[in-house]
């Protein structure tokens, strides 16, 4: 395990970002800077981070950064990584995208992955199109209320990390802003490998999910503790990561109800609804075990 005190103290997220209070993306971006430092070159499709990066010269991110159209992130990184290789530059293109960009840009994830193009893709997943004001996405939690699913989401929730694993990506992991040390060690591992590396980062959003902005980390941890978000890593073989390991045993899990009742987006759910979701979560664990 990496000790945070041993990592670079250089700041890549500068003071005074335009992020919302309690924003999970900022936690993730800080960790990214700590591990990759000035090797990281960011490709950011439209999303919350477009705003977080700041207006014109009042930039909040000290990474080289290309802002790109919504559906283009990994494809842009393909070109960039080719340029770094050819010109002998010691950079790693990092596509920092949201769950919305992985809906509209799904084909680009697939294409860059099968080509094993050299990049790290981090999907910082706040489970909806938050930047446009909380609309349901492919990864929006079952039955969650959003402005386009006012009665609760009816569709399935797609499992991006498993989809990327099925593409035979070089490295795939899930992570959470509630367990930054786990995320950091996964970034450390991803940094050492060449090729297509994918990390699906769970990023609870205070205004989007309806919880107090002081509770981002707490909610992220509850998601892991109730088994709804499973931390795992594929590095040659698939392993459940340490923070999630106890919860393979269902009896050890935090009652799902506690996670659900802590968020306004689930206020409309009945106990029956929660039971249905619990079944989905059990299936999710079966697939990974």
């Amino acid at each position: 395990m990496v000790a945070i005190k041993d990592l670079s103290k250089e700041k890549f997220v500068l003071p005074g970002t335009t992020a919302c209070q309690g924003c999970p993306h900022v936690l993730g971006l800080k960790a990214l800077g700590m591990v990759l430092g000035d090797r990281a070159v960011l490709v950011v499709p439209a999303g919350c981070t477009t705003i977080i990066a700041g207006l014109k010269d009042r930039a909040s991110l000290k990474f080289p950064l290309l802002h790109v159209p919504f559906a283009s992130g990994p494809a842009v990184a393909t070109g960039l990584s080719s340029a770094f290789k050819r010109l002998g530059k010691y950079g790693i293109p990092v596509v920092w995208m949201g769950d919305g960009a992985s809906d509209i840009g799904f084909a680009t994830l697939s294409g860059a992955c099968i080509r094993k193009d050299d990049m790290i893709v981090i999907v910082s997943d706040n489970e909806a199109y938050m930047n446009t004001g909380i609309q349901a996405s492919g990864t929006t939690f079952w039955k969650a209320k959003t402005t386009t699913s006012p009665a609760g989401k009816k569709e399935e929730k797609k499992d991006l990390a498993l989809i990327m694993l099925m593409h035979r990506a070089d490295y795939v992991a899930t992570a959470s802003v509630g367990y930054l040390q786990d995320f950091i060690s996964k970034l450390e591992r991803a940094k050492e490998i060449e090729g297509f590396r994918f990390i699906h980062l769970h990023s609870p959003c205070p205004p989007g999910w309806g919880f107090d902005s002081s509770e981002t980390v707490e909610i992220a941890r509850m998601a892991v503790k109730c088994g709804a978000w499973i931390l795992w890593e594929f590095d040659g073989e698939l392993k459940i990561s340490a923070p999630s390991r106890p919860y393979a045993d269902k009896s050890k899990r935090l009652p799902l109800k506690e996670y659900i009742r802590a968020q306004r987006r689930f206020r409309h759910l009945s106990d029956e609804d929660i039971k249905e979701i619990e079944k989905k979560i059990d299936e999710q664990w079966k697939a990974l075990k």
Partner: protein, 361 residues
């Protein structure tokens, strides 16, 4: 060296001569043989470039955008629906001031499915900030591709070369291929390169004024293109237009693309009959060769192989906004409908007699 090449292969030869470093492409008829040939060149080691088989045209231009932002000379090619699919990236590349070069093998937009030539597809680029050239034959397709890299890198605007689907793209002709470029295309410093350790941001949020400034600056650089084309130092001289039998012409035909060859034959026939007719062939649509249109003092016929529903032929509309004389527009050959020398002879005759309507046939 004289070689027999189709228009598409001529473009591929130009890309090789230009030492392109990055190519991303997605197949679409009738563009495909350009990138097939390039893939072969890369596999054989004749061209030291990376060739990326992407998942869509949107990704083709996105990857080319990334490579160009990283400092590489980059190329892609497409047609019709492929161009429309990558349309968002076309704007992104232009406003980012990246000197990307793209061949657009013109093809009708469906439905119904139709792979034959029409110019409406390439004209969707006209407001984007791309330089747009339109070749008449395989030789020009090669030359304009090479000029494309030169000019694009001088003005930091992307460059599109149009070739009529099948009529240029798949028709083999004798093409004079330069043996070497003798410093015609030096590597140029970019005014920004995305690289590790250099924390610059491109494309992020700004004050509204910045968006307006960017377009104004693009316009200024677009204005320089005509002069740069005339003084490019290329083995053959080029200008934004070709003037054909324009001396003493009382009637002038304006058009672009492959069928201009047939129009010239028709003009020759009518000249023999004593009709004082000539042609102003647009080799470039952007920048629009305003200075050549402004000075016309005769009756003008614009033949458009494109159409803006609700207004008319696109080039005719543009010519009317500039010309200081009578302009008549006719729309012909949409969907690849064949229009040959005989058609042009009778079309021009009717024009001279003042009997021409707006559509042919």
């Amino acid at each position: 060296m004289r070689k027999i090449l189709t228009g598409n292969y001529a473009v591929a030869e130009a890309v090789k001569l230009a030492d392109v470093e990055f190519i991303a492409a997605y197949p679409i008829t009738p563009q495909t043989t350009i990138v097939e040939r390039l893939a072969e060149m890369v596999e054989r080691g004749e061209l030291n470039a990376e060739f990326v088989r992407v998942e869509s045209e949107h990704s083709a231009l996105a990857a080319v955008y990334g490579a160009s932002a990283g400092g590489l000379r980059a190329f892609t090619a497409t047609s019709s629906h492929g161009l429309l699919y990558m349309y968002e990236m076309c704007w992104w590349v232009a406003n980012s001031r990246l000197p990307v070069v793209m061949a657009v093998v013109t093809r009708t937009i469906g439905p119904p499915w139709n792979i034959h030539t029409e110019h409406t597809d390439i004209l969707t680029l006209r407001d984007t900030g791309w330089i747009i050239a339109m070749s008449e034959n395989a030789q020009e397709a090669l030359d304009l591709t090479l000029l494309g890299f030169k000019i694009a890198e001088q003005v930091n605007l992307p460059f599109a070369i149009g070739l009529d689907g099948f009529q240029v793209s798949h028709t083999a002709e004798v093409v004079d291929v330069p043996e070497s470029l003798d410093g015609f295309l030096p590597k140029r410093e970019r005014f920004f390169v995305i690289e590790p350790g250099n924390p610059i941001t491109v494309g992020g949020l700004t004050e509204n004024e910045c968006s307006m400034t960017i377009r104004k600056e693009m316009a200024k650089d677009m204005e320089r293109v005509g002069e740069l084309v005339r003084n490019s130092g290329y083995v053959r001289d080029y200008d934004l237009v070709e003037e054909y039998r324009m001396e003493d012409a009382e009637y002038v035909v304006i058009s672009m693309g492959a069928w201009c060859g047939d129009m010239k034959d028709a003009i020759d026939i009518l000249r023999e009959k004593g009709v004082q007719i000539g042609m102003l062939r647009l080799r470039f649509v952007r920048p629009f060769p305003k200075e050549f249109v402004e000075k016309l003092d005769c009756k003008v016929l614009v033949v458009d192989r494109n159409y803006s529903v609700g207004l008319g032929g696109i080039i005719a509309t543009e010519v009317k906004s500039i010309a200081n004389c009578d302009v008549h527009g006719i729309v012909a050959g949409l969907g690849g409908v064949d229009v040959g020398v005989d058609d042009f002879v009778s079309m021009f005759r009717k024009f001279v007699r003042g009997e021409l309507k707006g559509w042919w046939p």
